[in-house]
C-alpha cells in the first residue's frame, strides 16, 4: 500500500533542481506527496489541511542546505513542524492536588483504558512510590470490574471492592470517600468504553467528571484509529475536559496519525504510550519518534540532519584553522553574523542552544532583535578590505568615516571593535576546546558586548 510513496517522492526530488532557496512551486509539489503520506498515516483531513498550510508558509523561501535536494529539505521542514505540533517537553502526569489526586480514564470501547489504568497504577506505585487505589466504574461490559480487580492483584494495587448493581456515579462517590479515608495519594477511575455520539453515556462521563474533579482526565486512544480521531477528541474534550492522551498499541505497525489529529483538536499533549499488553509496557511519549513514524520518511530526515551537521562541521573546522593561526578577522565575524540572521534570527538560535531555556524571556526584556545584527554587519561592510583584515589600522578618522558610512556613531564602531577583540581573545583560548562547543558559544559571544542603544545586559548575560 505504502511502498509507492517513497518512489513518488523520489521522482519529485529528482525533478526539482537545486536552488538557493525553496520556491513556491517546489514546496507545493513536495507537499502534495506529503498530503498523501499524512492521509495514509490516518492524520485527519482537516488537521492535514491546517498543517500543510502552516508548513507551506514556513518552507517557502527557506534556504536549502548544501548537498540535499529541495524536496528533501521540505521533508525535513515537515518533520520538524510535526515534532513541534506533537508537543515538545513532556510534562508527565500532573498529580498536584489534595490527595487523593484523581485520574479519570475515558475513551471508546476497547481502546485500552482498563489496561492503561493498571499500567499507570503500577508505575506510580513502583517508580514514584505513591499509594494508589483503582476503581472500575464500568457497569456495561461483562466482567469489566473483575478484569480491573485481577490487574490490581497482578500489580499489587488496591482496587475498590465491587458492589454488584451499583451505578457508575455511585461507585465514583464511594471510591472517593474510601480513598480519602484510607489516605491514598492517587485514585484511578476506570470508566466504561463509550461512543462520542452516545449522548446518554457522554452525560454519565460528564457527571463522573464533575463529582470526582480529576487532576488528570486521560483520553485513551488506539494508535490504529482512523479519521474518526478528531470527532472522538472533540467530543471528549468538550464533555470531560481532557488533560492528556494515552496512545495505545504503539507496538503495532500503524503509522499513528491519530496522535496528531487528537493533539491538534483536543489541544492537550500525548502523555504516555502503551507498547504492549503486559503491565510494564508503558512509556513516555517522544514526539520525534511518532513524527518520523507518521511521515514514514525517517531516512530523508536523517539524511538532511547529517548534511546540515556536515556543513556545520566543515565551517567549524575552517574557523578553527584560522583561529589557531590567529587569522580570525572581521570578515569572519561578518560571516558568522550573517549566518546567525539566516538561521532564523537570534530567537531561533537561542532556542537551539542547550540550556538556554528562559533566556528568550530575558531577551525580550532588553529588546535584543535582529536589527542589531544588521547594524553590526553594516559597520563591518563600510570598512575597507585592509581594515577588515587588520583591525589595528582603525584610527579616529577611519572610525568616523566608517560610522558615517554605516549611518551610525563612532561609539557604535568602538563597541564593535571592542567586541571583536574580546572575541579573538576567546577564540585563541577556545582553540583548545572542542570545535562544536566553540560553534555553540559563538552567538553568545557575539551578543556579549553590544546591547542596542548602549543598555545593560541582564545579569548572567554579559561577557564572562
Amino acid at each position: 500500500m505504502f511502498e509507492g510513496l517513497g518512489e513518488k517522492l523520489g521522482d519529485v526530488f529528482s525533478r526539482l533542481t537545486r536552488k538557493g532557496a525553496l520556491r513556491e512551486g517546489d514546496v507545493d509539489e513536495a507537499l502534495r506527496e506529503v498530503r498523501v503520506a499524512l492521509l495514509e498515516a490516518d492524520v485527519a483531513l482537516p488537521v492535514v489541511k491546517d498543517f500543510l498550510a502552516s508548513v507551506r508558509e514556513k518552507a517557502v523561501g527557506e534556504a536549502v542546505i548544501r548537498s540535499v535536494t529541495p524536496g528533501q529539505m521540505v521533508i525535513k521542514i515537515v518533520n520538524d513542524a510535526l515534532v513541534e505540533l506533537l508537543g515538545g517537553v513532556n510534562l508527565g502526569l500532573n498529580l498536584n492536588a489534595a490527595p487523593p489526586a484523581v485520574i479519570m480514564m475515558v475513551g471508546l470501547q476497547g481502546s485500552g483504558k482498563t489496561t492503561s489504568a493498571a499500567k499507570i497504577a503500577r508505575r506510580l506505585k513502583e517508580r514514584d512510590k505513591k499509594r494508589v487505589m483503582m476503581a472500575s466504574l464500568d457497569t456495561q461490559r461483562p466482567a469489566a470490574q473483575e478484569q480491573l480487580r485481577i490487574l490490581g492483584e497482578q500489580t499489587g494495587v488496591e482496587t475498590l471492592p465491587v458492589i454488584a448493581g451499583q451505578a457508575a456515579t455511585d461507585i465514583a462517590r464511594r471510591a472517593l470517600a474510601s480513598a480519602r479515608v484510607q489516605g491514598y495519594d492517587v485514585l484511578i477511575l476506570d470508566t466504561a468504553g463509550r461512543l462520542a455520539v452516545d449522548e446518554e453515556m457522554m452525560n454519565e462521563a460528564a457527571n463522573i467528571h464533575l463529582l470526582s474533579n480529576p487532576v488528570e482526565t486521560l483520553l485513551v486512544a488506539d494508535a490504529m484509529t482512523g479519521q474518526d480521531a478528531v470527532n472522538v477528541a472533540r467530543a471528549f474534550r468538550d464533555r470531560v475536559n481532557v488533560t492528556g492522551i494515552v496512545l495505545t498499541r504503539v507496538d503495532g505497525d500503524a503509522r499513528g496519525g491519530a496522535a496528531l489529529s487528537m493533539r491538534a483538536v483536543a489541544e492537550v499533549p500525548v502523555k504516555l504510550i502503551g507498547t504492549g499488553e503486559k503491565l510494564e509496557a508503558l512509556e513516555d511519549f517522544h514526539p520525534d519518534r511518532i513524527a518520523s513514524r507518521i511521515l514514514g520518511m525517517g531516512d530523508v530526515v536523517g539524511l538532511v540532519e547529517k548534511a546540515a551537521e556536515q556543513v556545520d562541521r566543515e565551517e567549524a573546522e575552517k574557523l578553527a584553522r584560522k583561529m589557531k593561526k590567529g587569522e580570525f578577522d572581521l570578515d569572519d565575524m561578518a560571516e558568522q553574523l550573517e549566518k546567525l540572521s539566516k538561521m532564523g534570527g537570534l530567537a531561533a538560535m537561542i532556542d537551539m542552544l542547550p540550556g538556554a531555556r528562559g533566556l528568550q524571556q530575558k531577551m525580550k526584556g532588553v529588546n535584543l532583535d535582529d536589527k542589531m545584527i544588521a547594524r553590526q554587519i553594516a559597520i563591518i561592510r563600510s570598512m575597507t578590505k585592509s581594515e577588515r583584515r587588520n583591525v589595528k589600522l582603525l584610527n579616529g578618522s577611519r572610525k568616523r568615516r566608517i560610522a558615517q558610512g554605516a549611518g551610525m556613531d563612532v561609539p557604535d564602531v568602538n563597541r564593535l571593535v571592542k567586541q571583536f577583540m574580546e572575541m579573538s581573545k576567546m577564540m585563541k583560548r577556545a582553540g583548545k576546546l572542542g570545535q562544536s562547543g566553540l560553534m555553540r558559544s559563538m552567538p553568545g559571544m557575539m551578543l556579549g558586548n553590544m546591547p542596542p542603544g548602549g543598555g545593560r545586559m541582564p545579569p548572567g548575560f554579559g561577557p564572562r
Binding site: 470501547q109 485500552g112 474518526d228
Partner: protein, 311 residues
C-alpha cells in the same frame, strides 16, 4: 440472519447519522444545498470519502470515476452522491454474504481472530444468540487465556445467549481449542465458536500461536476450522490493510465482521479492502447489546459512507 434485522439496523444507522459529528454532517449539508453540480461538488465528496477512512487513493479513484460521468451542470447535487453510492455498492455487493452454516457438518467450527479490543468476544456472544434463535445448538470456547477476566467475560455472554460454555485449565490456547472440539462433539452441538486472545498482526510469535490453533484443530477434524472470522473495528484507519493481509495470510481468514458501526466512524477502509482482498463481509456490529449484530448490506453501508440516508 434474522428477518426483521434490516429494519432495526436502518433505524439505528439513521439515528447514528443524526447524532454523528458536526464535521461530517456539516460537510454534507454543504454538498446537498448546492443548487448546481460543479467541480467543487465532487471535490467535496472526495473529501467526505477520505474522512470516512476510504484512504486517499481509493477516494481519488472513486471521485475520478464520477468525474468521468460529467455530472457538471446538473441541477441537483444529490445525483452525484447517489451515483457515488452506486459505485461503492457495486464494489461491495459481491462480498455481502451471510455466514454460511453447512447443516451437514457437525460441529461447524468457527475460529474468531483479530487485534486487541476489536470486539471478538462480544461478537461471539451476539453470534451465539443469533444462532440459538435460528434453532442451532451452540458451544463457545474460551481460547483467550491471556487477558484478565477474558474467560469470565465470555462466560457471561454464553449465559446471556444460552450457549454451552467450554473453558480449560491449560494456558495453551491450541490445547483448549482441541479439547473444546472434543467436548462439542460429545455434546453433539451444531456450532462451536472459538474465542482467541487479541493480538497485533505484526507479532510473529502470537501469529504463530494462531497457526498452531488451526493446525491442532485440523488434527481432530481435517476440515476445521470451517470458518475463520476476522473481527475488524470500524474505528480503524488504514492499518486495517496490514491487519487483514497478515491475518489472512497466516490463518486463512474466510470472512470479516466489522464492529462499532454505531459510532461516528464509518469503516470506509473496507471498501479498499474489498477491492484488494475480496474477503466476504458477513456481519456488522452496531452496539454492545446481544441483538446488535446485523447482516452486512452493501447498499446501506455505501449510502452511509457518502452521507445519504438509508433507503
Amino acid at each position: 440472519m434474522s428477518d426483521e434485522a434490516p429494519k432495526g439496523w436502518l433505524a439505528r444507522l439513521g439515528a447514528g447519522l443524526k447524532k454523528s459529528s458536526a464535521a461530517i454532517t456539516g460537510g454534507l449539508t454543504r454538498i446537498f444545498t448546492h443548487k448546481k453540480v460543479d467541480a467543487a461538488t465532487i471535490d467535496e465528496l472526495e473529501e467526505l470519502l477520505i474522512t470516512a477512512d476510504l484512504g486517499p487513493a481509493t477516494a481519488a479513484k472513486l471521485a475520478d470515476a464520477i468525474r468521468a460521468r460529467r455530472f457538471e451542470g446538473e441541477a441537483d447535487a444529490n445525483i452525484v452522491a447517489e451515483a457515488l453510492a452506486g459505485e461503492i455498492t457495486k464494489i461491495l455487493a459481491p462480498l455481502a454474504r451471510p455466514l454460511d452454516f453447512d447443516g451437514a457438518v457437525k460441529p461447524h467450527v468457527v475460529l474468531v481472530v483479530g487485534v486487541n479490543g476489536s470486539g471478538k468476544t462480544t461478537t461471539i456472544g451476539k453470534l451465539a444468540a443469533e444462532l440459538k434463535s435460528r434453532g442451532k445448538s451452540v458451544m463457545v470456547a474460551a481460547g483467550d487465556t491471556f487477558r484478565a477476566a477474558a474467560i469470565e467475560q465470555l462466560h457471561v455472554w454464553a449465559e446471556r445467549a444460552g450457549a454451552a460454555f467450554f473453558s480449560g485449565e491449560s494456558k495453551d490456547a491450541a490445547a483448549i481449542a482441541f479439547d473444546a472440539l472434543a467436548a462439542a462433539r460429545a455434546a453433539n452441538v451444531d456450532v462451536l465458536l472459538v474465542d482467541t486472545a487479541g493480538r497485533l498482526h505484526n507479532k510473529a510469535d502470537l501469529m504463530a500461536e494462531l497457526e498452531k490453533i488451526e493446525r491442532v484443530l485440523k488434527k481432530a477434524d481435517a476440515a476445521a476450522p470451517h470458518a475463520t472470522l476476522l473481527v475488524l473495528d470500524a474505528t480503524t484507519g488504514q492499518n486495517a490493510h496490514a491487519q487483514a493481509q497478515t491475518f489472512r495470510d497466516i490463518t486463512h481468514v474466510t470472512g470479516l465482521v466489522v464492529t462499532k458501526l454505531d459510532g461516528s466512524a464509518k469503516g470506509g477502509v473496507v471498501v479498499a479492502l474489498a477491492d484488494r482482498l475480496g474477503l466476504p463481509i458477513h456481519a456488522i456490529g452496531v452496539g454492545e447489546g446481544i441483538g446488535d449484530l446485523r447482516p452486512f448490506s452493501a447498499e446501506d453501508f455505501a449510502r452511509s459512507l457518502v452521507g445519504l440516508p438509508a433507503r
